[in-house]
Structure formats: structure tokens, C-alpha cells
Point group: C2
Chain length 438, copies 2
């Protein structure tokens, strides 16, 4: 299989992140594809003065400060436009399509404003166009709406699509401080831009909602036509009252099919604290989708950042590569990898976790001492002993939590305990898992 | 574009759900595809005695009790195997592939046991194979791992993959009852099978974990080789102790790349209540994925049920159809629909929500009366008035919550209020949104 050759234009945060992933995951990517995804050319205005470190992994890639060289190169099959904005980016994409190259873009603003037109150009030229990174960088929401749940009819969606606003609101809530104070700190930390207008006024979320409306409902809606309110008017006192109502305040992008037509809005709203969306904090993004047949689904991940967005760009490059390869019987494997390796799981005995050990005993003095001595001889440290009041002296439950220990040691200790006459049955050992903190 | 012709074998829950979606969403599906997805044949052992209602939408489809007629028909391009199990299902899929037909399956057991072999047959025959419905029916996790985040290197995943066990555990927790009691009720309600062994002992989750391991790590692992513990030994008292530790108990399917190799396990474990996974209750499923570059993502939805699983089957049929169409420049649109319609959002003024109205006032008697009178004249009913103690008589905040009202009425009332001399600034109106209750 010949390699699929990629030209990357723009080496800012997203371009740098994509390059890092292409370098780190090269063999994995090739194994999933069943072909080589090769970085053939890279372009950045400052490539000579400050080439990013990631570039050193691609010594053979052509370097240029002129995007036209990438777009016109016969050595490039797919162009990744990672410049952003609605200026040069549009020119780059049009020129690439005109030269028969497929395009991957992370550009929400351009795609929200001119996406349908650009897709029409791509279709006429017979090339591919992909834009997973344009909404909620770390969440594959395009893939989900385009393919994963393509068969469903979407009734509504509700998203937290702007990480900066979500960070500001959750910090206001957590610390009881004003928007101005939190925004200033976000700017100092680099979470908010010097001019935060696009985020704080909801314009960024509005562009993303326009793209999600296209994906979910097949309509092309101008971002400016979407009723939009930002978070400027939210004050610390609103979190106090919201809390009294067992709610919180989030900037939500909402779309809903109604008898009146498609409602679209970006605005701060109250969400019950028990809602999964209300538990999305910091700079995370999330989208909740209500399908007529699949009912509720929910997607959560990083909204931005070099490598989460880079993952979206690289995944798009892989998907476009697969399609370019599809002249032959090559097909994206239903197993995600072109070939599977026969394997067996590793011996999980070495896995280290804190454990919850629950005992049922016939009560008598000395029980804790005997159990603790077995645990100690297995090098397992007791963390706490919990016992609820109970009258059931013949079948008394209590719990010992232990510090992180290998599963193997815990199993051996439990085995040794099975000879103890005061036990009603074999002790139950459950590991503590962290899950994703909400 | 010629139609893509589908043969459906098996009209149980999943087959019936898929047919219903194909009927309900026919025009939407064709619009997304840019071609017709046509049900050409259906097969079920009892098709004559009890044809499902959904079949009436497809009067032209050939009906048969013999799957060979579907697999051998020159009128069928794609076969959906919805029979389940490892018996006839395997024969059906092999026969379909041997006759050059692409296959969509919902069969976790068969694909976990023989998936790599079947994929190899499909590849040799140059046909497509898709199995989104085989794990967590309502969550497009195959699509996510195969395409959406294909560029990332997965480090770990943690899933709630068995809805029956999750239902039992959350009911035990909620009601403080024993596993036996809750299981008996789940059986009565049809949430658990008469023989619940496959669910309760973790075998179902184990097959699904084997498939997720293939998708995430490219390894082919026999389900029987995965260390597996079911939920039989969990007692009501464990939820009591877990709660004291601010944790809960869930049946987790876990995969983790470690220096020792790939750890895989299905077992009950303790999860902190603050973890998003811990908030997955009832028969829902969820998968949390840790990627080396995209960091954490989380996917949530229905684990089973006729239409959620049907959505997965129909989405697969659409994806296979798109690939079959890909001889020409037809391509799955990056906008999910073959064409976008120009559109504008509906006037959101008719949207009805309860509202949170926050006022800042210069305190004096009669304020509530004046505000309430304006609300009343706009047909808006006050729900509650909240006021925190405050000394700031010149800029006193308080909140009025109101019963559901059209956005338009709320905006008009706020407009009328702007003339009131005691207001420090324009009142803030936030709608209450429900989100997804966790």
C-alpha cells in the first residue's frame, strides 16, 4: 500500500499537537490504517525562526513558509488547514480542493460561516473534507452524529461548548468570586484570551452550535442568526441563589426541534445539580443528545488544548486516508486496527489498588487482631476499620479498608483467612477505582 | 444513485427496533445518505404466525422463514444478522460473506469469540463488516474508537457494560434491599432474564470487554481468559459501608495498558460518588476512556433496548451503504447529510421554560407588589421569592422564580420593568434547563 502523504499548514497549538501525535503514535497509526500516514510537508510563517520541537521527528518533511508550496505539491494527498480564522484559511482550503487534494480542518469559524459552500466545492472535485476538530476538540462529536448514531432522528441537543466560560462559571461557583476576578485570573493562566469577547459573549459557542445544527439536523444556519447571550451579567450572587434551588449556572448551547421549527440558542441557564451536564466543570466540554429512537446519549471530554484537538485532526487524517485507500478492498476494520494480534490479558495479580474487605463474622474477641496479623504478614497496611452498630452477633458484618496492595497479595491473604473459624463466609474484596471525578 | 438493498435476518427485539427506525426515519436516512436504503428481504422463523407490526411499512420486502433465501438473493447487498448467539448466526454471516454480501451484526458473543476470523473472511471477500450494536447498544463506542479518536493511543478504559447488573446494583443502593429481592423484581419487569447467569456472573460484560480490547488495543483476547467476577456476593450492607466511604459499588469492565501487559478484568469495584461513572444509574451503560493525548473522554447512553440498539444497526447499515457507494465521489458528508438546507432558527419566543429572575434593587416598600403585578399582567405566575439576608439596601439582590412561561412573555415583562426607578440594572432572566438527570 502506498503511503498517504499529508501536508500540514499552521504550526500553532493545534498543528504542534497534531505533529506530536503523528510522531508519538506513528506505528500505532500505521497499524490501524494498514498503510503509512506520512508527513510530507509542513508550513508555518515562523518555521525558520522558531520551528517547534515536534518537527524534529520529521526530518524528511519539506519545510516552507509559503502555504502555496504545500497545496501545489504533487507530493501531498491531504492538506490539514490549521491556520484558523476566516482569512487565509479559506483561500488555503479552496486552493487545495481546486488541486484535487482532500482537506482536514479544525476551523469552526470558517466552517460555520462557509462550510456548506466548501463542502459543495469538495464534492464537485471528488475530494474528502473532514472537520472533527472544529467543535469540542477532545470529543468526537462529528463522528458520533455523522456515523455513530446516523440512523437516529435527533430531537434536541444541549452542549457546554466553550471551555473558557465553563472554567469561569465553575470557578465563580467554587470560590464565590466575581466574574471580573476569575476572568482576570483565567487570562493570567492563559485559559482566556487578552480579548475574551468571542468566548465571554458566546460567539465561539454560537459558531459551534451552528455546526452541530448542520450535523444533527441538516440545516445551514448563519451563526449571527442564533439568539446569543454571553455570561457577562452573571454575578456571584446567582450561584448562591442557584444553590438554594439545588441548581447551578452554565453557558448552554441548545438546539431543539419544535412544532414552531428549530429552536437554537446560546445562553446561560440554570441546570439541576443532579444533571450530568451540571457536573461538567473547568474547561471540559460536553454534549447531551436526545434521539427519537436511541433516547439520551452524552459525550464528554476536553474542549480544547493542543493534543486533544490534535487527536481530532489526526483521526480525521486517518479517516480520509482510509477513504483514499478504498479503491481496493481496504476498509476501516470494524476492529479499528487493520490486523488484530492474538493476545491474552496480562496476569492481573500485579495490579495495585486500595481494597475494601468486607467480613461476616461470628463475633468474639480477637477477630481484628487475627485478621490484621494475616494482612500484615502479606505486607498489606490497614487503612480503617468500619463497623455499623448491629445486634447480629452470629452474622456481624464489618469492613476493613487497606492501603494500595497488589491484587495477588490481597487474594493470598483472603485465602489464608478462609481457615478462620469465626468467618461466616469468604471475605469480599473490592478494589477502589477512581473513575472520572465529576 | 441506485438503492442499497438490505436483508434483515432475525425479527426479535433488535430486528423489530431496526425495522421501526428504517420505517420512521426513511426520508431522513435517504437524505443523509444521498441514496435509498431499501429493505429488500426479511427473515424470521415466525414471520407467518406473528409478523411484527413494523413489517407493514415494507409491503414490497420479500418475507421468508429461511435465512438462506436472504443470503442467496441477488436482490440483497447487505445482510443484517440479528439472530444472536453463536450457532446459526455464524453460518449466516459466513454464507453472506461467501456470496459477496456485506454484513452488519449486533452479535457480541459471536464477534468476541470469532470476530477476527470473520473479519479476515470479509476482507478476503472484499466486503464490509460492521458491529456497532454489539457493545453498549445505545452508545456509538465502536465508531468513537474506530474513527472518532482513532489517532489517540488508548491507555485505559473503564466501562459499565451490563445494564442488568447496573440496574440491580443501583436499586439495591436506592432501596436498601438484597440482590435476591431486586433480581426477582427485575425478572418480573423483564429487565433480567429467567436465567440471569450471563448477566449476573459477568459473562456478558466479559464478551463486550473482549471486543472493546480489540477496538482500543488491537488485540484478540478470548473472553474466557479475562478474570471475571459477577455481582452475586454483593450484599445490601456493602452499599452502607461504601456510602460511609463516599463511594458506591458498580460492576466495572476495566482495561489498562501497564508495564506488565494489558490488564483486563470484569469485577465489582468501589467508585467515588463524585465520579461521573458512579452517576450512571439504572440500565444505562457508560464508557470512560483515557487517551494518551486526548486525555479523558466519557460516553453514556442506553445499553440495550430495541430502538437504541436498532439505531446502532441502522447507523451501521448507513455506513456500509456509504462505503458501497464510494466507487464514485459520493462520500459521507462532513455535515452528516448529503445536502444541507439553508435555514434559519425558529423564533425562540414561543419556547416555554420556568425562569429565574434576579433583581438588584434600591430597597423600599412595595417592590415585590410592583414586580408581581407586571408579571401577572404578562400571565406569568410567581413560583417563589428568595432573598438572602443583606445589609446592602442600595444594591439588594433577590430572586423570583416563575412557573413555565414563553420566553417572549418573560422578555416583555422584563422590558416593562426597565422603567421602574428602584432597579439598579436590568433584571437577569435565566431559563431552567433539565439536562440529563444523573
Amino acid at each position: 500500500m502506498s503511503p498517504i502523504r499529508v501536508g500540514i499548514i499552521g504550526l500553532g497549538n493545534v498543528g504542534g499537537g497534531a505533529l506530536r501525535i503523528l510522531a508519538d503514535n506513528a506505528s500505532l497509526i500505521n497499524r490501524k490504517l494498514g498503510a503509512e500516514l506520512r508527513v510530507a510537508a509542513v508550513c508555518s510563517r515562523s518555521i525558520e525562526s522558531k520551528a517547534p520541537e515536534e518537527l524534529s521527528a520529521f526530518p524528511e518533511a519539506r519545510r516552507t513558509t509559503d502555504w502555496r508550496e504545500v497545496v501545489e505539491s504533487p507530493e501531498v494527498d491531504v492538506v490539514a488547514e490549521l491556520v484558523g480564522g476566516t482569512g487565509a484559511a479559506g483561500e488555503i482550503i479552496e486552493a487545495a480542493i481546486a488541486r484535487g487534494k482532500s482537506v482536514v480542518t479544525a476551523n469552526k469559524e470558517l466552517m460555520a460561516a462557509r462550510g456548506a459552500e466548501i463542502w459543495s466545492l469538495a464534492r464537485q472535485a471528488g475530494v474528502r473534507l473532514a472537520m472533527e476538530a472544529s467543535v469540542a476538540g477532545g470529543i468526537p462529536i462529528h463522528s458520533v452524529l455523522r456515523e455513530g448514531i446516523a440512523g437516529d432522528r435527533i430531537e434536541a441537543l444541549l452542549g457546554i461548548l466553550n471551555g473558557t466560560c465553563n472554567f469561569i462559571l465553575t470557578e465563580m461557583e467554587r470560590r464565590g468570586e466575581s466574574l471580573e476576578t476569575v476572568l482576570a485570573e483565567a487570562q493570567r493562566l492563559g485559559y482566556a484570551e487578552a480579548d475574551p469577547t468571542a468566548d465571554v459573549e458566546g460567539y465561539d459557542a454560537r459558531s459551534k452550535l451552528s455546526l452541530l445544527a448542520a450535523l444533527a439536523f441538516g440545516v445551514q444556519v448563519k451563526p449571527e442568526s442564533i439568539p446569543t447571550e454571553g455570561i457577562r451579567r452573571i454575578r456571584d450572587v446567582d450561584f448562591l441563589y442557584a444553590d438554594r434551588l439545588r441548581h447551578t449556572v452554565r453557558l448552554l448551547a441548545a438546539a431543539e426541534q419544535t412544532p414552531d421549527g428549530l429552536y437554537l440558542a446560546v445562553r446561560p441557564a440554570l441546570l439541576p445539580k443532579s444533571a450530568i451536564l451540571a457536573n461538567v466543570s473547568g474547561s471540559y466540554n460536553a454534549v447531551w443528545v436526545r434521539g427519537a429512537h436511541g433516547a439520551d446519549t452524552f459525550y464528554y471530554g476536553r474542549g480544547a488544548g493542543p493534543t486533544p484537538t490534535g487527536v481530532a485532526v489526526v483521526s480525521d487524517l486517518m479517516n480520509v486516508a482510509r477513504e483514499l485507500m478504498m479503491g481496493g478492498p481496504e476498509r476501516v476494520s470494524p476492529f479499528a486496527h487493520a490486523e488484530l494480534e492474538p493476545g491474552s490479558p496480562a496476569d492481573i495479580g500485579g495490579e495495585v489498588r486500595p481494597y475494601y474487605l468486607r467480613f461476616r463474622v461470628r463475633d468474639r474477641p480477637g477477630i481484628i487482631a487475627e485478621l490484621a496479623s494475616i494482612l500484615a504478614s502479606a505486607q498489606i497496611s490497614v487503612d480503617a476499620v468500619l463497623q455499623e452498630p448491629s445486634e447480629a452477633k452470629d452474622d456481624l458484618p464489618f469492613v476493613v479498608t487497606v492501603e494500595p496492595a497488589p491484587r495477588r497479595s490481597v487474594e493470598q491473604a483472603i485465602e489464608r483467612m478462609s481457615a478462620l473459624d469465626f468467618l461466616v463466609d469468604k471475605p469480599l474484596a473490592l478494589p477502589f477505582e477512581k473513575g472520572l471525578e465529576s
